[in-house]
């Protein structure tokens, strides 16, 4: 694609880059070429080396070997600031700006226009307005940054980076928390910047977006370069094969074999279960060996359903039964005792205990269930940890590694292992594949199916309708904090779910990704 600049000019060249952390080789002989005016997607599974590559290029990590050239000149930035001064700017998923300061202050922090030592507020605001106007952004620059959506904050971070005379802009998972429209705005700005000759590195695990925006793709796997291709001539399946190094088993295309719903035993049931002001009373039956998907927009009551089922929130109406017997579910402890498990969507704040090891994180729920006085011996813990690390293919397979050092996908597997170790009868998974790359994604879906085959009852929440359709035996659709429809068997497809979600009210649903 011609963007008005010399497409052949290599702006950023990385050659034979190597980086190890102790015995762990994070990057080996990696080449990467970014041309002026192109949008270049950097792809790979969690742990493939994308983040390490970015951090070496931007001076966060020192490299062990290799060359980095910017505009033909060797550079070796020793800090993110030095990289920025050289012309390489990075914008992360979490915006690194100051939410309590105004937009203008954020844009000109550390380089405010001054006269006689005083900041010229009006001059600063005027410049800020002009700068943002270039990005098609017409907002009140005197308002605190925190007043704006994450998308706008991200654009402001990009504007600041570009205004600091960036020649290379690295966007690390910029779209993870953006909705469809916001992604479009971001993409427009990206194209505009590329048109000005800026080279953009785009890291994302949304393959649709990669195809929509990027000119070329570089794929890393296990710290090595797998290949660099033109986006237009790289079929999706081939890309996935490059990323995974194996054929993606047909996990995401075929529907689960249907066993008649009524033939299965009821595991847990909820009648008129609800909490005033939180979630309207609902009826829900969960059967052994069955996956029930919860679909709906953010805030429709999906997570709320999970929290009531697991006792995180106390229901004030209705009756819960476990294996037919009335059960009290007033706290997570109660739920755990009844054989429930719950993986929250907030993996970092509600899932992992970052300082503790993989082993300790795995045995945590089982130990809590057994109680204080029946401690698992160290050898029992080792056995459980080793078994699940093997079973779920957790990497690196080191039980004594603090879980905080694992990639997101592997942390998620550890959390799954934590609950599987308790041999639960019901597992509630809230967005189990969020923020996880395509390989771990497929693996987690495969796991969900296997678990269900073994008789576990599963309640799964996901924003990815394709995913829900793939593994669910039944889908409950939620809208405005109430369960509004239940789809079964052949009735489950993306368009039916979409129309149920949108039944009355604006159809502002994100398109199901394919």
């Amino acid at each position: 694609m011609d963007r008005g600049t010399d497409p052949a000019a290599a702006l950023l060249e990385v050659r034979k880059l190597a980086k190890s952390f102790g015995a762990l080789v994070a990057l080996q002989d990696v080449d990467f070429t970014l041309r002026a005016g192109e949008i270049h997607a950097l792809l790979g599974e969690n742990g493939a080396g994308k983040s390490t590559l970015i951090k070496v290029v931007t001076g966060v990590f020192a490299r062990d070997a290799g060359v980095v050239r910017l505009g033909g000149v060797d550079i070796a930035p020793r800090s993110a600031k030095a990289a920025l001064d050289a012309g390489i700017a990075t914008v992360y998923q979490e915006v690194n700006l100051l939410p309590n300061l105004s937009v203008a202050q954020n844009l000109y922090l550390g380089r405010q226009p001054t006269r006689l030592g005083l900041v010229q507020q009006s001059e600063m605001r005027r410049r800020a307005r002009e700068l943002l106007a270039e990005f098609g952004l017409h907002i009140d620059v005197a308002a605190p940054l925190a007043d704006f959506s994450v998308a706008i904050q991200q654009l402001i971070a990009i504007a600041r980076a570009v205004d600091l005379s960036a020649r290379v802009l690295i966007l690390d998972e910029p779209t993870s928390s953006l909705d469809h429209n916001e992604v479009e705005i971001l993409f427009r700005v990206m194209r505009q910047l590329a048109g000005r000759g800026i080279g953009i590195v785009f890291v994302s695990h949304f393959l649709d977006q990669v195809y929509a925006i990027s000119d070329r793709i570089t794929v890393l796997r296990n710290g090595r370069l797998i290949g660099e291709r033109e986006t237009g001539s790289l079929p999706r399946l081939e890309l996935i094969r490059m990323m995974l190094g194996r054929e993606l088993a047909e996990t995401t295309s075929e529907r689960a074999a249907a066993t008649p719903h009524e033939a299965r035993d009821v595991c847990a049931s909820f009648e008129g279960y609800g909490k005033a002001g939180y979630l309207a009373p609902f009826d829900l039956e969960l059967r052994h060996g069955e996956v029930v998907g919860l679909a709906g927009l953010l805030g429709s009551g999906r997570t709320e359903t999970a929290r009531l089922v697991f006792g995180v929130e106390r229901a004030d109406a209705g009756l819960a039964r476990v294996e037919g017997v009335p059960a009290r579910l007033q706290s997570p402890r109660d739920a755990v005792r009844h054989g429930f498990g719950y993986c929250s969507e907030e993996r970092k704040t509600e899932g992992i205990v970052a300082d503790l090891t993989v082993r300790e994180n795995i045995v945590l729920a089982l130990q809590a269930k057994r109680g204080l006085l029946r401690p698992l011996s160290r050898s029992e813990q080792d056995e459980i940890a080793t078994r699940f690390i093997g079973l779920l293919d957790i990497r690196p397979p080191e039980p004594e590694r603090p879980i905080g050092l694992l990639s997101g996908g592997n942390q998620q597997k550890v959390l799954l292992a934590r609950w599987l170790a308790t041999t639960p009868r019901l597992l509630v998974l809230d967005e189990p594949t969020r923020g996880i790359d395509v390989g771990a994604h497929a693996e987690i879906i495969r796991l969900i199916r296997e678990l269900c085959r073994e008789g576990l009852a599963l309640l799964v929440i996901s924003s990815e309708l394709d995913e829900i359709v793939t593994y669910s035996d039944r889908v409950v659709v939620l809208r405005d904090r109430a369960h509004v429809e239940e789809l079964r068997g052949d009735a489950i497809d993306v368009s039916r779910i979409l129309s149920a979600i949108a039944a009355d009210g604006p159809a502002s649903v994100r398109e199901g990704r394919t």
Binding site: A62, R78, S79, A82, F310, V312, P332, R333, A335, V336, R337, Y342, S344, T349, E350, G351, I352, V353, A354, D355, L356, E360, V363, L364, A365, Q367, A368, K369, R370, G371, L372, L373, R374, P375, L376, R401, P402, G404, L405, R418
Partner: protein, 330 residues
Amino acid sequence: MMPRLPRRGLAQVVALVVILLLDRAVSPQFFDVRLQDGRLFGSIVDVLNRGAPVALLSLGMVLVIATRGIDLSVGAVMAIAGAIAASLADSHGLPLVLAAALGAGLVCGIWNGILVAIFGIQPIIATLILMVAGRGIAQLITEGRIVTFTSPDLVWLGNGNVLGLPVPVVIIAVMLILTGAVVRWSALGLLIEATGGNARASELAGIGTRAMILAVYSWCGLCAALAGVIAAADIMGADANNAGLWLELDAILAVVIGGTSLFGGRFSLVLAVTGALIIQAMNTGILLSGYPPELNLLLKAAVVLAVLLLQSPRLAGIAGLAARLRGAKA
């Protein structure tokens, strides 16, 4: 985040050895130990003996800090327990004296635990209440006087000896082993570390985090009471104004020197006690050297700084430091 240093505890052991060697330098007889009347005497025994109250406090404090809490009231609880023990010592038997004093400490700990775990008050504020009120309670018990006693049983707790070792040293050893056994042979240690590391996640994993918090504050109160009884037995009296004064800070210091983060999570009982001994070795050293005791405070600050710098993953090596300096110049 950096991986945890595999040489955990090395910094503390090195610090203790360095300070003991410094003590030896200012006082050549520092390591001399002699047996007299069936009891060991010497500066090194003195460090253990004098360090016992803070070591006991740090045993409770380290668990509280591991849950991401803090207990400012331990000094005041020492005063309460000491006052109770001194008031009862000459009229009641040792078992009842101990039961009353330790029971009071336990009640104080439960009070703190309820404020933190049930009412969700920030630990620093919740325990500040008892830090202030506790000294008042102790003064009410002693009616504002310094209560002295002569009960040989109680005096033995502070001045007696077992197998040649001072009783406080034996008590701290027993309490260290007991606490370690309870914490590491049950699942308590793991569950406390999980609660401190991420309370929300721990609760969702089915851990009774409130019970954990209640338990550690209770244990902390009990340890403080025991320290208070020993301190009172040592001077054969209870001074509600000065018993355990500012010792909560020494205990917190001991825990921090012992490598337990104030942000909760991982803890080490042995290293916390080591921290207490480091502090006492400095105190004793200053006294032996004849330097003005005021110097002690500065020295304490310097050692704290040194240990914390040694623990800092960012300063994991001189090489890292040098790289940083070069980076700053660039």
